[in-house]
């Protein structure tokens, strides 16, 4: 089933009904009719898609496509100008606390505190989610062990490599046990091995823990044939569905050529 076929509680239900419409079929993330402008410049135009629980959805677009704006809207950093965004049925504008509780985020720029230790960074994040000190410490130790940094717990973040920092950011995003994970260009600036490690770690989270993942990227080789795909170009959504559907729609052999074909068609259609 394509992610777009999943029921969109936010789109179809009234605001009062949103919090009550949680069923097994509720999408992890539903985006409905979202548009956003910076003054006169339109950064996003009528975006519609959903991310199902336990699925990996790649959000593919070049720099400037609107991926990060979309992330800022999903995480409530920006106010929504039009449309609706729901996290497991909770409208991000009306019930941000409930929505954000279920969401872990890895932003494109590094947001770790470089002068604090790995453990201190994780404990700070846990406190921001109201997790008590003892519980937070045990979760942090578990997370550090899982990402192979248990022995660096007391080191300053500043001393980590780029790949280790990213792993720590992912561990931090998972500390409060979210059901939806958003990653914005999480592999930018990393070497091939670090990229591959992080990608396989995230895919493991989908299969083993049932987390819904939205993975924003501009790198075609990060997309697998089993993934769901949303193509964003100049603020418009050009395609959505599983990869094979997108390939057949674009009449292309691979994601790279599908992207080129779709964005080329888009550019032509914008030309007067």
């Amino acid at each position: 089933m394509m992610p777009t076929d999943a029921p969109t509680a936010v789109a179809s239900a009234g605001p009062d009904a949103v919090a009550r419409t949680e069923t097994a079929a509720t999408p992890a993330l539903s985006i409905s009719g979202v548009s956003h402008s910076y003054g006169a410049r339109r950064a996003l135009i009528d975006i519609d898609f959903t991310v199902a629980p336990a699925s990996f959805t790649a959000l593919l677009g070049l720099n400037g496509a609107g991926k990060s704006t979309l992330f800022s809207l999903i995480t409530r950093l920006f106010g929504i100008q039009s449309g609706q965004i729901g996290i497991f049925g909770h409208d991000i504008s009306r019930a941000p606390g409930q929505a954000l509780r279920l969401m872990g985020v890895v932003f494109q720029p590094r947001t770790l505190d470089l002068d604090l230790s790995l453990m201190q960074n994780l404990l700070y994040h846990a406190a921001l989610h109201g997790i008590g000190r003892r519980d937070a410490r045990s979760r942090a130790e578990e997370m550090l062990a899982r990402i192979g940094l248990a022995d660096r717990s007391a080191s300053k973040v500043r001393d980590l490599s780029g790949g280790q920092m990213r792993r720590l950011e992912i561990a931090r995003a998972l500390l409060h046990r979210p059901r939806l994970l958003l990653l914005d260009e999480a592999t930018v600036g990393l070497d091939v091995k670090a990229r591959s490690d992080i990608l396989s770690h995230v895919r493991q989270l989908v299969t083993e823990q049932g987390i819904g993942v939205l993975w924003a990227t501009h790198l075609f080789d990060e997309i697998a044939t089993s993934d769901n795909l949303v193509i964003l170009h100049q603020g418009r959504m050009l395609a959505r569905g599983n990869v094979s559907d997108v390939l057949s729609k674009a009449n292309a052999q691979d994601v790279n050529s599908a992207f080129m074909r779709l964005t080329g068609a888009q550019s032509q259609s914008l030309t007067p």
């Binding site: 009550r20 496509a65 990060s68 497991f88 985020v105 700070y124 921001l128 109201g130 000190r133 260009e185």
Partner: protein, 282 residues
């Protein structure tokens, strides 16, 4: 509102979750301050330079008559000590807001703002954390100043604490309010010149208001309208175990107004939108 989420958690937040969040933000701010030794040292050196050099030089020029809360003639150093305590908080408040602009531009504020707790509460915690850091600085200053004959009644070290918390919150809120109107980090230096120095010099921090009135009645009225003057007087009286009710009312009112203004005016998209939400990306 108590609907149940998919993972079975209640939708609201418990008191202990609010307190855990507050503790975490204050703890992180204190750790950052202690790790930044240069910031700690410069925060101490600034008032000490005023105390050791400026006050020593002006001791003979500026006579201080007996004015409340003092019950006898005092040294000029003793007079300016409360003003220097307030100055530490003024600089700290502005520095905190500067760091908020920086964090907003660099992305660190996102970690705070994607917390599920209400945004107004998170910003309030951030203000309290900045105030806690200013208290560390003020008490470190007082410990050194004790060797310089700044010796209030022992109870004064305790009674001044609520005054310092209130004035710290007022100045931190003012800083946050100013930072919410700043589009980019580069603009902050100008704001420092237009806010910190006028506020400090047009106040009772360095000279009593009756002296100002003798020199310039106009400046006297400016000083009286300056909330920083009232922060200084609130601290001065509290340092000697007394309450200046007018200053308390002014500082309390200004704290509330600045805080509400700062929380409403804070817009995380301001810095992000200018550079693109992810540092150039849109």
């Amino acid at each position: 509102m108590s609907s149940t989420t998919v993972d079975g958690k209640q939708s609201g937040f418990s008191f202990s979750e609010y307190m855990t969040c507050l503790n975490g933000i204050v703890w992180r701010e204190a750790l950052r301050f202690l790790h930044q030794r240069e910031r700690f040292i410069s925060a101490l050196v600034r008032p000490l330079v005023w105390l050791f050099i400026f006050a020593a030089g002006f001791r003979q020029v500026l006579g201080i008559s007996i004015i409340p809360p003092y019950e006898t003639y005092i040294l000029y150093e003793v007079y300016i000590a409360p003003g220097l305590m307030a100055m530490i908080q003024l600089f700290n408040g502005m520095q905190s807001s500067l760091s908020m602009v920086y964090d907003r531009e660099m992305g660190n504020m996102r970690t705070l703002l994607v917390s599920p707790l209400p945004r107004g509460y998170l910003l309030f915690c951030k203000l309290l954390a900045g105030t806690a850091v200013s208290l560390l600085q003020v008490y470190a200053f007082l410990a050194i100043a004790w060797f310089w004959d700044i010796t209030p009644p022992a109870i004064g070290y305790l009674t001044v604490l609520p005054a310092l918390i209130l004035s710290g919150l007022m100045l931190g809120s003012l800083g946050m309010l100013i930072s919410s109107g700043i589009k980019q980090l580069e603009n902050f230096a100008g704001v420092m010149n237009f806010v910190i120095f006028p506020m400090f010099f047009a106040s009772s921090a360095l000279y009593p208001l009756w002296r100002v009135q003798e020199g310039s009645p106009m400046l006297y009225y400016v000083c009286q309208w300056n909330p920083f003057t009232h922060a200084v007087e609130l601290i001065r009286f509290a340092f000697y175990g007394q309450v200046n009710w007018i200053s308390l009312a002014v500082v309390g009112g200004c704290t509330l107004a600045f805080m509400i203004g700062a929380i409403f005016a804070y817009d995380p998209s301001r810095g992000l939108a200018r550079r693109g939400p992810a540092g150039g990306e849109t």
